[in-house]
Amino acid sequence: MNDETILLAHGSGGRLSHDLIEKNFLPPLDNPFLARLDDSAVFDVSGRIAFTTDSYVVSPIFFPGGDIGKLAVCGTVNDLSMSGAAPLYLSLSFIVEEGLTLGELKKVLSSIKAAAEEAGVKIVTGDTKVVNRSSADKLFINTSGIGVIPEGVDISGANARVGDKIILSGTIGDHGIAVMSQREGLKFSVPVKSDCAPLNKLVSQMLEASRRIHCLRDPTRGGLATTLNEFARQSKVGIRIEEEKIPVRDGVRAACELLGFDPLYVANEGKLVAIVAPGDAPKILAKMKRNKYGAEAAVIGEVTSEHKGRVILKTNLGASRIVDMLSGELLPRIC
């Protein structure tokens, strides 16, 4: 049965569509909002709302440490979390290339279920379309999400202030290298798994420790270097980081050496960068270290009044150099 493939008719809106949804989508994602099968999910929320959307086109759809389903939930949960919001509800929209096996689809759905449960969010509405072979690549997923921002939280890339500390939640480059290692024509074996993870609980714990978190962002495509450049430009400040403080796994370093990449530009899917008031950095860091997704968190640098709009790295050898934004594409379709 799992060898059964998805056909164009599964997206027709007819009997096969209903079968597919009732047998395969509803059971794992079970919740009262979805079960009504109405055209929209209807619910009450109060407070300031954060709303975000993202499409996931990663290739291959299964990779060490995750798959497109986990990514689609974590990515949107994290986008909400980075504005300080507590994520509540997600939409889930599938574009399936005919020929995907039911087994693959079920595997993705079970990852979605697991990730949503871990994050404590509900999938409240969804859609499935099936397109002709080669009109998509196996499976594309779009998720949108809404969350509520607690009182007193004001997080934006434009909020960094001179003297603020920069905290990184853990090792960089794991996701990009894990996906890359699976690419056709480039398969290599590295003991590296994607770091794909929902960070909403980590963020809420950080906010418990202090409300003086000024900027938060998950350094996905473009990596840490690009995120820091965005902060420097949006906040019109300089950023200074130290190479030796930035944790990189050996497997990621080795793969980067081999492929000529700089880990600073390689994507992450379960990491965050926080710019925080200097006085509160120690307690925020302490709180982060108690969460498994922040166990290797470290202060990697600070915000300066010099070289506004630029990121400067102090190299291991003690020299300084510019860290620019990623230009061009490092790896296509990693998320």
Binding site: R253, A254, L317, A319, S320, R321, I322, S327
Partner: protein
Amino acid sequence: MKFIDEFRDVELAKNVIGRIKQISTRPTRLMEFCGGHTVSIMRSGLRQLLPPTVEMLSGPGCPVCVTANADIDKAIALAGLPDVIITTFGDMMKVPGSYSSLQRARAEEADVRIVYSTQDALQIARDNPTKSVIFIGIGFETTAPTIAASILEAESKGIKNYYVLCLSKLCPPIMKALLDLGELKLDGIVCPGHVSVIIGSRPYQFIPRDYGVACVISGFEPLDILLSVEMLVAQIETGKPKVEIAYRRGVNPQGNKTALVLMDTIFEIGSADWRGMGVVPASGLKIRKKFERFDAEKAFSITTEPVREAKGCICGDILRGVKIPLDCKLFRKACTPEHPVGPCMVSSEGSCAAYYQYGSEE
């Protein structure tokens, strides 16, 4: 990480820098030949750590950068032929030729694919027997053996739809050409590491002998380069230039015999067109007559428009070490990695890209 951390050890590096400062008494002008060296130097910020007496110029050792517009135009023309698949290293995609780039040709429906080795290109040829698969064979002595091996494999396996646009170039002859120009007054050369793995140290002997210029073959880690600089400065200070190998873990004086035999089987020495230098006799490799059916230039007939150089671009001067990227009016303005005017801004080993990406604080 083993085999990496040893060569980035901060204490060791400080020691070597200290020794260089101690022995360096007069202005010394060195050229790092390789783009790979330039990137490593910029990325670790080495220039700032050397004493002011030691000047480091970047050389022409970036295979993408030295590829002449005329040759890029040929590759693009080949891409426009029917039933052709162009296979190339990724860095070549964005390099602007006289009128277009492979990237643009791809957007205009040419089938251009990025490969990581000639083996990938051969596989594409096997998978597409009705198409002609052409590998854009740029590079120095480092990549030439793999290109030779792919031709030999195509021959022995009967792969009839595989071709190479052979643009291979040789390092020692271009060093000679640079020294003959006499623009730079070099005291020493940080010689290429990977090229020397193949050719050994002997082909550089003429440099100290005929030009009095010191040569040290260097690896690519910051400590490799620092050690090479120390050895060069020591040679120069004692007035006894010679060829030394600092990259002992990779290079022996004889080079790699198997690779050299392979190259000699497939290629003969011919002239090559270098950006910034023009056509230099005996500085490139051509496919021998016996294997000419794999030679894309012989197998396909293409016409190209007259070659044009981009206005204001000084890549040629930069490749000769006469100017640095900061001297270019286009640098960071009209010429950026997103919109490169010249190849030195495109290639990951290009000087302009390295200056753009890593710059220094100032």
